[in-house]
């Protein structure tokens, strides 16, 4: 215990534990096909982590399993192994491993993979989710927030904006289940979500705002597709949101104390 309990792998394992209810319900309803997709994703991720371990001495992370789960759950249906492996290789290498592995990436590798698959193979349908799987995301989020690995403020910001949209009568009922699962699986990822308090509220709000925007204006897109596009754009904007929060904090300090 020289370095304490909370290192990177503890966070990854807690994240995995938090996603267990969601994963188990999804496998229960998806059956063998779901397991096969998950297995391909895990193998492909393990291979690339191993390559970067040998080439750049980057320690692999258990978080790869979490990424694999997110990819397997949200990937377009009927892609086949070859296209799935192509998409995962691109997303994981370009989204995470070239930056130095899990913890140093700017965008979630699962988000990059899914966007790549969506743009690259537009002919394939996006998955839908059974109601119990959607409900299973609640205990997942609860465990994540209770153990402190998922930022509660991101969830709070997203639910606040979603609630406001619901009150104002935006047509979000159809997109809500998929958006909720994407929020829990991709957006609240502890690495790529915002890391300041205000930034987290803005992060969640931006995600929900984009989902509502797509739901009202983007005709012909599947709910999961809208949610993933929103997640990608949000994760690209996240450093900016953190920057805004820090700038505001510095300005406030300067007003109070007359200096930095």
């Amino acid at each position: 215990m020289m370095k304490g309990l909370w290192d990177r792998e503890t966070v990854a394992l807690m994240l995995l534990a938090a996603y267990m209810p969601l994963a188990l319900f999804w496998i229960w309803f998806g059956g063998g096909a779901a397991l096969a997709t998950l297995w391909i994703a895990v193998l492909c991720l393990a291979f690339w982590n191993f390559v970067f371990l040998l080439a750049r001495a980057q320690p692999p992370s258990v978080a790869a399993v979490v990424t694999a789960l997110a990819i397997a759950m949200l990937a377009p249906e009927g892609l086949g192994a070859l296209r799935l492996v192509l998409g995962i290789s691109f997303g994981v290498v370009m989204g995470e491993l070239v930056f130095g592995g899990w913890g140093r990436n700017v965008v979630n590798p699962a988000t990059v993979t899914l966007s790549f698959l969506g743009f690259g193979f537009p002919g394939y349908g996006w998955p839908g989710f059974d109601d119990p799987v959607v409900w299973a995301a609640f205990p997942a989020a609860l465990i994540g927030v209770a153990t402190g690995i998922m930022p509660a403020a991101v969830l709070g910001g997203a639910l606040l904006v979603a609630g406001a949209a619901l009150v104002l009568g935006a047509p979000v009922a159809e997109v809500a289940p998929a958006a909720w699962i994407v929020l829990v699986l991709l957006v609240v990822d502890p690495v790529t979500s915002a890391s300041t308090s205000l930034g987290r509220w803005l992060n969640g709000g931006a995600y929900a705002g984009l989902v509502v925007f797509f739901a009202t204006g983007w005709s012909g897109a599947a709910p999961v597709q809208m949610a993933i596009a929103a997640a990608l754009l949000t994760s690209l904007a996240t450093p900016l949101l953190d920057e805004i929060a820090i700038t505001l904090w510095i300005a406030k300090r300067r007003r109070r104390h007359g200096r930095n």
Partner: protein, 221 residues
């Protein structure tokens, strides 16, 4: 003998060692825009190489007479005149490709690669070395364009120069086109991958790191 070696170095240096696109990241706007097919990439490469070589020759000829204060205007006027000639030739003899290239031939005028070479090299060197240097840079640009154009057309449509190379799944083959390859982001990814590959082979091109990572905790103890 030494003169010949110098010419040879001037010509071959910009191919990989000093490649204007992968090392200096110049002229990438057009490199990204026209590489959806090999035919347009090749036409663009030839047009740019011709314009660059002739412009370098002309500017080098009058390099002692160009006033420093208006040198950019003079250079752009020369480049623009050459571009208009090339554009007219393309419209006359290769109407289809000219339509596919749309404004990008005209935009050779503002291509940073052209102005970069005339400004950095042709203004200080006699016509022959200038033209050799410009031709070499044109070839380096062409090399990158053709590589990226070939990859994008092959994986985006399964074709090369419009001939079906990989049998499409729609027509009974096995290849499903990757539509992403025909969109602009894929050119960024491919160019990034190409730069990465070149710099892995030639580590001297790698830029110095901007930040040093913090020391690891176990090392500090």
């Amino acid at each position: 003998m030494t003169a010949r070696t110098a010419f040879w170095t001037t010509l071959t240096d910009p191919l990989i060692r000093q490649n204007p696109v992968t090392l200096q990241i110049l002229g990438i706007c057009s490199a990204l825009a026209v590489t959806t097919s090999l035919a347009t990439a090749l036409t663009m490469s030839v047009s740019l190489t011709v314009v660059l070589t002739l412009a370098a020759g002309v500017i080098s000829l009058i390099r002692r007479h160009i006033p420093d204060t208006i040198r950019l205007i003079v250079q752009i006027v020369i480049v623009a005149s050459l571009v208009i000639v090339i554009d007219q030739i393309l419209q006359a003899y290769f109407a289809q490709i000219s339509r596919a290239l749309s404004v990008y031939v005209g935009l050779i005028t503002t291509n940073c690669l052209v102005l970069g070479r005339t400004e950095a090299y042709a203004r200080y060197h006699p016509p022959l070395p200038s033209m050799v240097d410009a031709f070499g840079n044109g070839l380096g640009y062409s090399l990158v364009l053709i590589i990226i154009g070939a990859i994008r057309e092959l994986f985006g449509r399964g074709q090369l120069f419009g001939h079906q190379v990989l049998p499409l799944a729609d027509a009974g083959g096995w290849f499903t086109p990757l539509s992403l390859m025909l969109l602009a982001p894929s050119a960024f990814f491919l160019l990034g991958g190409l730069v990465w590959a070149v710099r892995s082979v030639r580590p001297e091109q790698v830029e110095a790191p901007e930040f040093a990572p913090p020391p690891r905790p176990e090392a500090a103890e």
